[in-house]
């Protein structure tokens, strides 16, 4: 029987080598398999296969109560765990009609942006590891550790904190929280120039990244790409501006965009996003009241009224949506998580074909997929 996950050789063509990249390849950031046809070092065909990490969250969640589901949403994009809770919570809050106190909104926003920095740091480290530089990896993970420590002090866990909840956050922040976050921002701003020196300004990196994996504006929109990928192609689409949630309407920030659409532009956009996150957190730290309610009034048994709601947030990888269909009972009728990496990975055939094999690695790391979220 033909293995359904390979591609057939072209009859009469002997110069094409078909090679399986993954699911256990070092550069696939998890369990992606791309079947690649290689002509020398040039890619002639690329067929991605996903699903190696599929757990059918959506079916499991139909058998869980709304409160229990929050801890499952964490497990989608485990690199930016806390961010994944928000679209589901926003959708259920809409259905419940819960009012979120402003302090809770600001705390959520601070955590949300902290996790964006954390996630981008992981991306930066592993992306540079793919390009052959080991040192930035160690630096970024050390910086990320500080965010995780801050999170652990307040939320009780490092990567998958299960901290947001309907109507606010689960518990009040630790007394040191605001001080710690401010200290981290000061520290992080001293580290950013180092990353610029090691990555964006490095001529070797520029040689690898400029003009590689160019994605046009039209293609990016049509393929449903989101996050830094679409913004690097010149589309200023950011859910934080398009449909603001939490405290974002009151905060000022830019959406960094770049027209080139190549790997360098995607790296650049993520770098600038980290700077914008620092700005956002600083504003939020100024605005947030030191004390006050951290959670709105939510009934002990969460039973939204029948209806359906789609809400989206801008996580580190892009547009993460949650479509919640309630039938009025304690259990949801259907939950769909629209994950950004899932849509972004559709670009693999577009971007890989015609590139060199080493470029494919750079392109993949610039797409920054996380497979917990792709396969769900």
């Amino acid at each position: 029987m033909r293995n359904p996950t390979t591609i057939e050789p072209v009859p009469g063509r002997t110069d094409e080598m078909i090679i399986n990249m993954g699911p256990q390849h070092p550069a696939t950031h998890g369990v992606l398999k791309v079947v690649i046809g290689l002509d020398g070092e040039r890619i002639t065909r690329a067929v991605p296969h996903i699903g190696f990490l599929h757990r059918n969250h959506e079916k499991i969640e139909e058998a869980r109560t709304y409160t229990q589901i929050i801890s499952y949403t964490d497990r989608m994009d485990y690199v930016s765990g806390l961010q994944n809770e928000l679209p589901f919570i926003l959708a259920v809050e809409d259905l419940l009609g819960v009012e979120v106190p402003p302090r809770a909104k600001l705390i959520r926003t601070i955590f949300f942006e902290l996790f964006r920095i954390a996630s981008h740091l992981v991306w930066l480290g592993t992306g540079m590891l793919d390009l052959g530089a080991i040192t930035p990896f160690l630096y970024t993970f050390r910086d990320r550790e500080k965010i995780l420590e801050i999170t652990e002090k307040t939320a009780g866990a490092r990567m998958l904190p299960n901290y947001f909840t309907f109507g606010g956050v689960r518990r009040d922040v630790h007394p040191d929280f605001f001080k710690d976050v401010a200290a981290f921002l000061d520290f992080f701003e001293t580290r950013l120039p180092d990353y610029y020196a090691l990555v964006l300004d490095s001529p070797v990196f520029q040689a690898r990244a400029v003009g590689v994996g160019v994605l046009s504006k039209e293609r990016a929109i049509a393929r449903g790409a989101s996050g830094p990928v679409i913004r690097a192609s010149g589309v200023p689409y950011d859910v934080r501006k398009a449909e603001p949630y939490d405290a974002y309407p009151e905060l000022e920030f830019e959406i960094p965009t770049r027209e080139e659409g190549d790997v360098y532009a995607r790296f650049w956009v993520r770098f600038r996003e980290m700077e914008e996150s620092v700005k956002i957190i600083r504003q939020a730290l100024e605005k947030v009241p030191k004390t006050g309610p951290y959670k709105g009034k939510v009934p002990p048994r969460v039973k939204p009224k029948p209806g359906a709601r789609y809400r989206a947030v801008e996580i580190a990888r892009g547009h993460l949506g949650a479509y919640v269909v309630s039938d009025g009972s304690e259990y949801p009728a259907r939950i769909k998580h629209r994950s950004p990496s899932f849509a972004n990975l559709q670009l693999i055939p577009d971007l890989f074909v015609g590139a060199r094999f080493a470029d494919a690695i750079a392109i993949l790391s610039s797409l920054d997929p996380v497979f917990g979220e792709v396969d769900r």
């Binding site: 530089a133 490095s202 690898r208």
Partner: protein, 394 residues
Amino acid sequence: MSRMPLPTERLVQPRLVGYDPTRPKPWLERIAYALFFSALWVMVVLAYGVVPTVFRHYGWLKSPLGFAAYAVIEAVLAFLLAAVVALILIVVLRKYLGKVQERVGPMHYGPAGVFQTVFDALKLLGKEDFAPRRVDWLIFRLAPAIVFVSAFLLMVAIPVAPGWLIADLDVGLLYIVAVSTLGAYGVVLGGLSQGNKWGLLGAFRAGAQLVSYEVPLAIALLSVGVYAGSLRFVDIVEHQYGLWHVVPLFLSFIVYLVASIAELKATPFDLPEAESEIVAGYNTEYSGMSFAFFFLAEFVELFLLPGFMVLLFFGGWHGPLFGLDPTSFAAGLLQSFYFLVKVAVWVWIFLWIRATLPRFRDDQLMDLAWKGLLPLSLVGLLVAALFRMFLEVL
């Protein structure tokens, strides 16, 4: 037992093995590394200084038996030296990468982990040397040997002090070009014979890269030969009294620096074994001691290529002698020490570059070799020839 053990019932309690890394003793570490360095020095003195001097002094080299004994002894010594060099450089590399990456690196075996590689080597010796069924067995087994032998043969040509050398070759420069090219064969054959597509890709890349960079490397060496008027290392080093070659032959030096990093297959030119792209390249299917031979050869070359650079451009063993007779044994000790220190500095720079830069792409690598380094090396050759002409005229 059917229930979870309580923390107090744990069978394995954490205990320290040897050195306590939580309480570092900087002086102990420094002494350990100084001892390591002096072990290297002693090996160098034995292999290059004592044994050849003794054999030449007593004229044993003239008899066939004496020559055979000399060859065997030197082979054993050079092998030990290669092993010591590799063991030291691996632990230094790991320790240095640890330092610049804000971690500690190896730390358990010996003070600051100086014996880590010894235990690593023992582990590799004890491992099963596994070969998949599809490999071309003979070539698969031969390839690591070719790679190691080519690195090993290069050690013969190095002089470390006046008169301290294993073989005084009249065509030393040609010899190292020829022998180092041999190593490329081992890498390519190893990649091709293993029946693995990643190995095949690695072999392609290695073949293209090593062959390309041999050309500018050879021309850079040639320009030194032209300028110094000899292909003998001893003559070249003697020629540098007054002015090290790095000043007049700066272009050739740059070419040599870049090309030797590429020959080492080190970042930013580590494409043949780019672990994030082609898994492990040409040594994907190697394990155990076969893998260790590739590894050993790589680190021996990490010692030898800076060594040649020091000989060709940085005045070899030149250094203040404090009025000693340059041919005496004490001066030889001092001069070999200078040589080793210069090599150590260059090894450090190589490691530094390795810790900083990402990797080039294959076509950029070729572009750099053929469009950048080759013209530059030809210009360097021209410059060397012109300088030589002026020297002749003067």
